[in-house]
Amino acid sequence: MLLEERNGVTTNQRGGRGPVAATVSVIGELLITAGLILALFVVYSLWWTNVLADRHEHKAADKVRQQWARSPADTGPGSLDTKDGIGFLHVPAMGRNYQVLVKKGTSTKVLNEGVAGYYTDPVPAALPTAKTGNFTLAAHRDGHGAKFHNINKIHDGDPIVFESKDTWYVYKVYKILDQTSKYNVAVTDQIPKESGRTKPGRYITLTTCTPVYTSRYRYIVWGELVRTQKVDATRTLPAELR
């Protein structure tokens, strides 16, 4: 009796499976494979793209700093070199020593380099040098450097500092919109009325997606220029960053 049962099992293992069992088994394996691939995609999105983007951004940032060091502020082609990046954004609220390179454009290609991009489309940004206007920026919330991951840690009154080759532009946050439609282009207007301002001024706008890990809404932070400070020979940090 016992022997017979054992024999029955071994026969089954040798390939006596019916076509239904074989099909179910293959489908099961495919489903497990699909699950593993999706898990790997999460690893890719939230970790690997950060590794690549951070590496890229560090290299690009070093290059900009070296260029600045080579040509002293007063003899350079201009304080905003738009080819490799126009400068650095410092936001102490997002971490001590937080800085990110700012480049032109908000295309996927630019943002995936782990930088913050200033808008050229649909509403072009005004550069910080402009007499009035809105310096509008976007960066990734997750993956590809996740430079604006901690945007929710910025509060009213926090400083945002943009560093160009020769000037520190110190902005102060005055309004946060923690959720808006992704089609709400008005937030990047030169006079961002939704923030409560009605007169031309020198504004800065940070945009990224929210809630974290999705792209359903946009998170907006508005600030306005408080003062500017010339960069000195040793690039001494302004008081807000010390």
Binding site: Y44, S45, W48, T106, D121, P122, C209
Partner: protein, 58 residues
């Protein structure tokens, strides 16, 4: 499917295990290097800019 692959790999169990590992790593490499970068922009997880709906067409 995996059983079929296993049975068709040469060598003893150790050799097969090593070959399997190499195959798995090759698949992961292909996914990370080519397939995920291609698929990512097609998925709506990482749009951070405001726009007037043109991105959906782009």
């Amino acid at each position: 499917m995996y059983g079929w692959i296993w049975r068709h790999l040469p060598g003893n169990a150790w050799v097969r295990a090593m070959i399997s590992l190499v195959l798995v790593l090759a698949v992961v490499y292909l996914l990370f290097q080519y397939i995920f970068p291609w698929a990512e922009p097609l998925l709506p997880f990482n749009e951070v800019t405001v726009d007037n709906g043109m991105a959906a067409v782009r």
